[in-house]
Amino acid sequence: MSENTVTPRRAALRLPAVPMAILIGVVIGGLLVLVSGGNPFNAYWRILVGSLAPANWPDTLNWAVPLVGMTIAAAIPLRGGMVNLGGDGQLAIGGFVAAVLPVLLPQILPLPGPLLALVAILAAMLAAGLYAALAAFGEVRFGIPMLISSLLLSYPAIGLTSYFVGFPLRDTATGLSQTAMIPEGARLATISGPLNIGLLLILVVAGLVLYVDRRTVFGYELRMRGLNPRFTAYGGVKPGPQMLRTLFASGAIAGLVGAIIVLGSLYRFQDGALLTPGYTWSGLMAALLANGEPLGAMVAGLFFAALQTGGFAMQRETEIPRVLTMILQAIIILFLAIRHGVVRRA
């Protein structure tokens, strides 16, 4: 595949490789279904109908909002050859801040609802962005590999938010580990069905990220770093600040996703509710699928969202567990990584 070695990042989704990987994933997944006594054709049919039948578009889109959001969060550092594995922690922090501020802030400073939502979103992005930048700081200042520190930092973030909703900030009216409901004015307005303006927010962010990637100095320098970090540093880009800013942006978007889920559908922070769907890892897989190229990553994120939404329908109709879709994602990435060497330069 000489065209891949010449311009490894030009193509959004390297077409020959990606459909091949998906095909391999589908075949292996189908065999797995067959071996465990299910009908693979029926399973895949249910996934298709469950995600792509017009009546199910809102559900697919609703699932896609956080997943594509986390895809963007993963794709930004990947574009520069860096990996942020701490999406779960950043998601939890963002969701937590967005759930707590609208409840506590009005006691000090009465704000109109929409303004309160805006403050909550910005604060969630700031908090999660700073937390992500902490991992970058560890590498810039001490040389601690960010790959591992970003992941490790997730555990304290998840534990602390879980503690706060379990004890000091628990809504005592319910028996569950969750915060009090957010005032109605601060909730994100619904568009129709499950969809709320969080969809628009993610669309804006997606457009913004594409613009930064294609048209700004920051995006250019980040892409250069992804291609050749030493040359980029030699060319005058300070690697440390670049890493800090990149991780801040990545974390801020993860925080935004947390805020959208909390302000748009849960209306409170429930222990574990942000993390159990596994948006972080699916998003990372989607970003890897496109090698960090934002548009391709978003398409891959949509694809995974459809796959997972269809997975729910499959589980309902056929008793085949929907974790099958997680296996499919993993096989697709593994095949791509092994067959074509999904290039990641540190």
């Binding site: 465990s36 040389g143 590999p145 790959l147 897989m285 092994i338 067959r339």
Partner: protein, 306 residues
């Protein structure tokens, strides 16, 4: 030194076993230049295969054997993917971790019809070995005795891995493969073969760790039961700079942190807070360790070399 604390040390030693086995695996892979961060998934596969094997055969030994085989087969992905197919080890490992989580959850539902936790009287646990001569010693007896065979084995393996790496021709070649693959190749060492075999041996070690995880105490499998231990092993490898003895020391530190977290929980602190103690200690250890060695090359070069 009362009964409780001896009991606690005993369970700490137990808790160290899977992490240490995974860390040994990481050291071996690091030495031959394969950056292995798939231990989290390998532990999970090992734990699942051990429970499945033990459940179907009624024998803990066969459960351990199943864990060995299953994890080695699973490790073929990294062994060949990162060498023959020249894939990026980090991406492969991330994919493997996800595959392990998905596959074990899927098989748990399909084979045993449960989700979440699988426990069954048919699962034979690993026997706790009682060494009668040691057991009678008041405090030490409690700690050293009443452990599974894998716990004794992991410390023996630490010595063996260190010996092989630093005192044998094979170990010299392994280190050569990691430090300068081209030079090793020109000296007639088959770099690929060394890497493939090492990754598979490492898979076997982690598989043992997984077996200890699921059969070492009560004989259950729960989804995601590796719970970050594979990542802690990765950190132990980093702190130990791919040296099995230093990595073992780091594992002991994490064991102590883990015991501290249990202790704090017994003092009435909520488990959400105490659960993060090992990770905070891990992060602190990383900061302390890397602060001292600031002048060394940027750490990400390690990942790039993989």
């Amino acid at each position: 030194m009362d009964f409780i604390s001896a009991f606690m040390v005993n369970s700490t030693v137990q808790a160290i076993t899977p992490i240490l086995l995974a860390a040994l695996a990481g050291c071996l892979c690091g030495r031959v230049g394969v950056f292995n961060i798939a231990m989290e998934g390998q532990l999970l596969i090992g734990a699942f295969c051990a429970v499945a094997g033990s459940h179907y055969t009624g024998s803990a030994a066969l459960g351990v054997a199943a864990a060995l085989v299953g994890t080695v087969v699973f490790s073929l992905i990294l062994a060949y993917g990162a060498t023959v197919f020249r894939g990026d080890a980090v991406v492969i490992c991330i994919g493997m971790n996800l595959l392990a989580a998905g596959l074990t959850a899927y098989l748990l539902r399909q084979l045993f019809g449960v989700s979440g936790v699988f426990s069954d009287p048919n699962i034979a646990e690993l026997a706790k070995i009682r060494i009668s001569s040691i057991q009678s010693i008041p405090w030490l007896g409690w700690i050293v005795s009443r452990q599974t065979v894998l716990t004794y084995l992991c410390w023996a393996l630490t010595a063996i891995v260190a010996y092989v790496l630093f005192r044998t021709p094979v170990g010299l070649r392994m280190r050569g493969v990691g430090e300068d693959p081209e030079a090793a190749q020109s000296m007639g060492v088959d770099v690929r073969r060394y890497r493939v075999v090492t990754v598979l041996v490492a898979g076997a070690l982690t598989g043992l760790g997984g077996a200890q995880l699921s059969l070492g105490t009560v004989g259950i499998f729960s989804e995601g039961m590796s719970a970050g231990r594979g990542w802690i092993a990765v950190v132990a490898v980093m702190l130990g700079r791919d040296n099995p003895l230093l990595a073992a020391l780091a594992c002991v530190l994490f064991g102590i942190a883990d015991a501290l977290s249990v202790k704090l929980q017994s003092q009435g602190l909520p488990n959400q807070l105490t659960d993060i103690v090992p990770y905070v200690v891990t992060l602190a250890a990383l900061v302390v360790s890397y602060r001292r060695k600031r002048d060394r090359r940027p750490a990400s070069a390690e990942a790039a070399a993989a």
